[in-house]
Amino acid sequence: MLWNLVVILLAVTALASAGCWLTPNARIAEGLNFGAAAIDCTLVVILLARTPARGIETLDGYLLLDPLGLWVMLCTALVYLLASLHAIGYMRGMHEESARLNRFYGLFSAFALALFLAPLQNNPGLFWISIELTTIVSAFLVAFQRAPETIEAAWKYVIIASAGLSLALLGTVLFYWAGTFAAGPSYNMTWARFATLAPAVNPTLILLAFLLVLTGFGTKVGLAPMHTWLPDAHSEAPAPVSALLSGALLNCAMLGVVRYLLVLRQTRVYPLAQTILVAFGALSLLVAALFITRQTLIKRLAAYSSLEHMGIMAIGFGFGAPFGVIGALYQMLNHSLTKSAVFFGAGNAMHAYHSKQIAKIRRVLDYFPMSGALWLAAAVAITGAPPFGLFWGEITLLRGGMASANTWAVAWTGVFLIVIFIGFLKHFRVMYFGREPAEPPDTTLHWTQVAPLALAVGTVLVLGLWWPHPIWVYLSAIARHFEPT
């Protein structure tokens, strides 16, 4: 029954993608894409409610449906739905690309399909492939506008992500090799199998393999210092694609890191691995804070904020069960929603003011009372201020940090959260309350460019005022898997 829903989910997305390629009509393509996103979102919510806590496998153990993977899929589905809605108005505004819009939606839904496939993989090798697949599909979305900058961004993205992922492949191969000492030359590689075999192996080998995997998937997560592709790709892609990159792709890559962290849970090097993850997160926070304060381009600002939040999630997972993990997972959902809203607003402002520069965007609230207010709320939310959901994610995670071995990271995170709060909102103060712009912006906004902002900001506001008990129970059940034995 559950697997039928998964098949429907994948089939609907695949058919929508194929349909978009076949139809020359952009209106049909955007309808197909949005329809698929709505169906996917419903199905993921049903799956989330029905799947047992221990997870289920199918297809000889090749596919896995577990609460952790489903949580990542939920973030993907929500962002895909909001971004598909935003894309309708936003992409119609890009008149020079109107002839190729059907291909945009074809790629967009194919990207979503790849993002749904990754969390379902039970075989670490196939997981690696599905992450590689997301790189290739999204590279074409980044390069969609075919300007020199966008091609440069796509180029760097493919080179850096593939080089990083080749390290992850090496790590995967070493994990498999480590397993052969206990299980014989051929065995079924799954996450659970790796975890049972890992404690018997030479800890140096396991640690090296983990470091390779962490560096590899960490490149895709955007952890510093492997983050260099992230600001380029996020800022050059069309806004709905930036939302999907930041709100869905980074989570999928983070899932890879987390699944390997779980493989190490019963080994002696688990605490060391947690500390390394915390250190990577702390470095990412530092880099993000520096670049946010001095930023001049609006979408790069949002991109560096993704770097910040992925760093915080890494720190949370490094702090460990229960609060660190629960906080990091709550952070993941709220970051996906809030960051999508920030990118939608940034895209709208870029179209209205015909510029990527913060300096050219002025007095947003005067020209856009409704969407401007929502964008400002999203900006406040993304800095982790109450009463929005990210605040609770961060507080919970830091509470977990107080009980962990890495208490220094709590103070570190606190300091940089304040720096980023000031640095990030300074740019918004300039955009909202500065002098009059040289020429008034183009104030035409399609309703689909505002509705997803309202939906996302509304949801994170609710999640900030009220943490639903079922979500707490669900996340605590996941966190139990992270306890060292």
Binding site: G125, I151, S162, V173, F181
Partner: protein
């Protein structure tokens, strides 16, 4: 029996083939003619194909013979063919402005081989030194991978970056053939096709680059900073 333990003759053949693969990556480091790189990559892929076939026959892993055949066909023939076509389309035949002289990059490569050997010494099961075949396989795997990264760092042409990536994957593939011939067939097949997709993606992006930017030198790609 955990890993595959070959007898004397088989071990000698393994060593010969892995070391030739390693030397071929030095050929790539030393030359600035991209055609030579592609040629060396093709030969390296054939060497790995022979190695797979040899392990398949001597270790009774029939599926490896299929892998060997596909490696020779895809990596040894089809990928080099695609790369040479890309090269002709882009009208370039060599790295025009190398960052580091070939001799210096060879020295760096040699240092990386030593590093790989030191790392391999520490990776045996239960903190013991791995047996000679595994040690050699680990060393060549890590060394070729590191040299691939060195090529990524030192080269500026888009195509050389692509070749660097392919060399990294060749290294991983070579090591995994010797260390774990029983690795699931599905995985090896998927990795082979994945490479093909990457090369095609690169081909399309190189075409865009040439059309929109007018060059495929990565040092021109400097607009996005900060």
């Amino acid at each position: 029996m955990s890993t595959f333990h070959p007898n004397g003759l088989a071990a000698a053949v393994f060593s010969l083939l892995s070391i030739s693969a390693l030397i071929l990556s030095f050929v790539m480091l030393a030359s600035h003619w991209i055609k030579n790189h592609i040629l060396a990559f093709a030969i390296q892929s054939w060497v790995i194909a022979f190695l797979s076939a040899f392990i398949g026959v001597s270790g009774h892993y029939p599926e490896l013979i299929l892998i060997a055949f596909l490696t020779a066909l895809l990596r040894g023939t089809f990928l080099p063919f695609l790369l040479i076509r890309l090269l002709d389309q882009a009208h370039l035949d060599r790295e025009f402005a190398p960052l580091v002289q070939p001799s210096s990059s060879m020295v760096l490569g040699a240092a990386l081989v030593l590093l790989a050997y030191t790392m391999a010494l520490h990776l045996g099961p239960g903190a013991r030194i791995p047996d000679p075949t595994a040690l050699m396989a680990l060393t060549t795997m890590l060394a070729i991978t590191l040299i691939g990264f060195l090529m990524l760092v030192l080269r500026t042409e888009a195509l050389s970056h692509l070749l660097g990536l392919l060399v990294i994957e060749n290294g991983i593939f070579l090591g995994s053939q010797i260390l774990m011939p029983g690795m699931p067939l599905l995985l090896e097949l998927v990795i082979l096709f994945d490479l093909l997709i990457i090369v095609v993606t690169f081909g399309i992006l190189v075409r865009y680059l040439k059309r929109e930017v007018g060059s495929t030198d990565s040092r021109v790609l400097r607009r996005l900073v900060g």
